[in-house]
Subunit: 147 residues, 4 copies
C-alpha cells in the first residue's frame, strides 16, 4: 500500500520564461509527471494498464501556491502524497522542494483531484469506480504528512 512518491528533475531551459524563472504553468506538468511516476511505481501505467479495464484519469481540479521561484538547472524534488481517496476519485498534494539550496527549501505546494473514467459503449466517458487492482495498492497518507 503506497501513499507517496518522489521524483527529482533538473529545470530545463525551455521551461523558463522571460522573467528568468520556471513558467507557473509548468508546475502542473511537474505534478502530472510525479502522478504518472507514482502509478508506474505501483506497477501500472495511466495509459497502458493491465487491469483488464481501460480507464482514464481526467483532472477536475488543480491548484498551486507559489512560494519561491525556480530557475534553470535548479534541482527540484516533487513529493506526491495521496490526500484523499473516494470510490471514483483521487486527490493528491504535491510539495516542491529546491534541493540545491542549503538547506533545501519548499518553493511551491500543489493539489490535484482526478476522477476515474471508463469509455461507455456509446463512446462517452463516464465516472467509474477505481479498479480494485489499483485501489488495493493505494492508501491516504497519514494526516501528519499532509499538514
Amino acid at each position: 500500500m503506497a501513499y507517496e512518491f518522489k521524483v527529482v528533475r533538473t529545470v530545463e531551459f525551455y521551461e523558463t520564461d522571460m522573467a528568468g524563472i520556471v513558467h507557473y504553468s509548468n508546475f502542473f506538468r511537474y505534478m502530472e509527471s510525479a502522478e504518472h511516476g507514482f502509478f508506474r511505481s505501483l506497477g501500472f501505467s495511466v495509459v497502458t494498464d493491465n487491469t483488464h479495464q481501460r480507464v482514464g484519469w481526467p483532472r477536475v481540479h488543480a491548484e498551486c501556491d507559489y512560494l519561491q521561484p525556480l530557475r534553470f538547472e535548479d534541482d527540484v524534488e516533487i513529493h506526491l502524497l495521496v490526500s484523499e481517496m473516494k470510490s471514483k476519485a483521487l486527490s493528491y498534494v504535491f510539495r516542491f522542494r529546491k534541493l540545491n539550496a542549503a538547506p533545501p527549501v519548499e518553493v511551491a505546494r500543489g493539489k490535484l483531484t482526478v476522477v476515474c473514467v471508463a469509455r461507455e459503449a456509446d463512446g462517452k466517458m463516464k465516472a467509474t469506480p477505481i479498479p480494485k487492482a489499483i485501489a488495493d495498492r493505494i492508501q491516504v497518507a497519514p494526516p501528519e504528512f499532509l499538514k
Copy 2:
C-alpha cells in the same frame, strides 16, 4: 475603470494531448494570455510599462476547475474578471466558454492571484504597491458577476 476582459482563441493541435483534449496545464496559459490582454486593453504592458516604474507580476496562487474537455479547433472564450484588489495584489476569476456549442457552455473556471513586485537596489524582487496609474484604471467586478 475596467473590471473585465474577453478574448477568444481557437484550440491549437499542439495544445492537445494523447487523450485528445487540451492539456490541463494549458488552461493556465490561456488565463495568462487573457491577463496580458487585459493589461494591454488598459494601455499598459505587463512587461514594457510606461508608468515610470518597472514592476513585475509573479503568481502566488493559481487554480482551475475543469467541467468539460476542450478539443482541437474548439473556439474558447476566456472571460477575465477582477475579483479582488489589494494595495499590492490582484485576483482574477476566469470563465472558459466553448463557443462552438449550442448554446455555448462553460467548460472551466479558473482563479489567479498575482503580486506586484519591483526590483530593489540589491537586485531582489519585493512586493510593492500597484502603481497608481494602473490601480486607477482597475476596479473589482460587481458581485453578481463573480458568482
Copy 3:
C-alpha cells in the same frame, strides 16, 4: 486552387524563455498553426475531415533558419507557401515577419514536409495518396514566391 496562407499572432509571455525571446521550438508550433489554418481555409480540417477518408499528416522533416529574435508582444506574420506536392506528400515554406518593425522584417524561415497517411485494417498507419478532394484545391506556389 490555393498555394499560400497568412496568419498573424502576437507573441505570448509563455512562449518566451529566460533569454527574453521566443523559444526556438515554438517556431515549429507557429508553422503548424499556419498549416492547419491553411487547411481550414480550403474547407478541410487536418483532423475532422469530410473527404470520406480519414487521413493524418505526420511530419517527416522540419527545419528553421533563425535571423532575428522575436520578443513578447511582437506581432508576427507566418506566411505559408506550398513548395512541393507529390502524390503522397506536401512540402511547405514558411516566412516569419515581425510586423511591429518599420519596415517589417523577416525574422525566420522554415520548411516542413508532411506525408499523407491512412490507418490500415491492422491499425498501422501507411502512406496513402492525398485525397483528390484535397489535392484538387492545392497547387505549388509560383517559383518567384519561393526564392
Copy 4:
C-alpha cells in the same frame, strides 16, 4: 576533449498530442536538453558560466528528420555529436533512439547550429569567438560517427 553526450529520458504525457505521439516540436526541446547536459558534462553551464565572460548561444539553424513516432513512456536516448566547430559557431548532430524496442531503433535525427554571442556595451548581442576555456574542451566527432 569531448565530442559527444548521451542522455535518456522517458516521454511525458504532456509531450504527446492528440495523434498519440510526441509532438514534433518537442524533439527540438530534447535536443536542447542534451546540448545543455553536454555543457554541464564539460563543467560549464550555458547560462551561469565561469569563464570570466558571459556568453549566449542563440540558434541559427535547427532541423529534424522523423523516422518513427515516440509514444508516452517510451525511453528515448538522445545522442549528441559535435559535427562542426568554427571560431564563433558550433554544430551538433542528434540521434534519437527508442530504447524500449528490441533491438533499439533510431526514430529521428536532428541538427542544430548555434552561435556564440556576447553582450556589447550598448546592450546588443554580437557574435564572438567561443571562449578558449570552452573551445579547448570540445572537438569534432570522428567522421565515422557522423555518417
